[in-house]
Amino acid sequence: MTSKRSQPELKPKPLDALVVLAVVLLAVGAAWLSYGGKGEGALTATVKHRGQVVAQVELSSLTEEKAVSIDGAYHLTITLDKTGAAVTDSDCPGQDCVHTGRITRAGQSIVCLPEQVIVTLEGKTPSADVILG
């Protein structure tokens, strides 16, 4: 019995910092993978529902808001406009997709796990040349 039981070290030790460092490096690596790539083309929103692409819209071509409805076990309304996308309404229990808010940059995504909906932005984030106060 004693061979399987081991009393853990209860106070933080220097080597723990190495674990923290490894986690931070992984996070930076994952961030670089998903946001670091130089996107090409105009900012495009893709809406996938259960693996199928249901809408793909070049955002700059929009002149007014465009709503995409998803009907499955739950019902979602995705609103696309010139500069971004958001899930504006959903009757799923978690509401994580609605709470994610609006996404505006390439690489960002909104996920609804219960309905397996994913909204992604790809391409190049338009950068402001001049900001007028």
Binding site: K4, P12, D16, V23, G51, H99, T100, V111, I118
Partner: protein
């Protein structure tokens, strides 16, 4: 570990405790503060850490799998099973390995476990949703896992201190 009645009962009690803790934390979702799917405090991980050190890897894995199966049964969500299993088993494997490393405290083991849990969940999400778009969540989830891992490590260390003179597995 011998499968005695006492050990079986102990594993069952710990499974029930883990399920209770998961249910409890669902009542106070962290996702209200950080709106990302899959963010949790991971209170049930305290039970996993405790079982791993006190009962050994095999029992801890058994408790974990039983907790995931029963948990998804209670929640009535089959797709959640894949998420909790991939996260839980990933965390378990990492903690089984790191437990042997001298010079790592329960904090390091717990943080690595929390991080592995999130990596496993993102892996599950990549399988379910198809594609790598969810990878963008990983940096945030890993950042959160530093906090939650430290927290569960702290609670587990309190638990071990309190249990130091109780040898209930003999």
């Amino acid at each position: 570990m011998k499968l005695t009645t006492k050990n079986l009962a102990l594993c069952a009690v710990l499974t029930a405790l883990a399920l209770g803790l998961s249910t409890l934390e669902n009542l106070f979702p962290v996702s209200l503060v950080v709106p990302l799917p899959g963010i949790k405090l991971g209170l049930a991980n305290i039970v996993t850490v405790f079982a791993l050190y006190q009962l050994g890897a095999a029992s801890a894995l058994g408790i974990l799998v039983a907790r995931c199966l029963l948990g998804s049964l209670f929640a009535g969500n089959a797709s959640a099973l894949l998420f909790s299993l991939m996260g839980g088993v990933g965390a378990m494997l990492v903690m089984i390995l790191l437990r042997r490393v001298r010079g790592l405290s329960i904090y390091g083991v717990s943080i690595a476990g929390a991080a592995a849990h999130n990596i496993g969940q993102i892996g599950a999400a990549m399988i379910v949703l198809g594609g790598t778009a969810v990878l963008g969540y990983l940096p945030v989830l890993l950042g959160v896992s530093l906090v939650t891992g430290t927290l569960t490590g702290f609670v587990a260390s309190l638990l071990f201190r309190a249990m130091r003179n109780i040898h209930f597995t003999q």
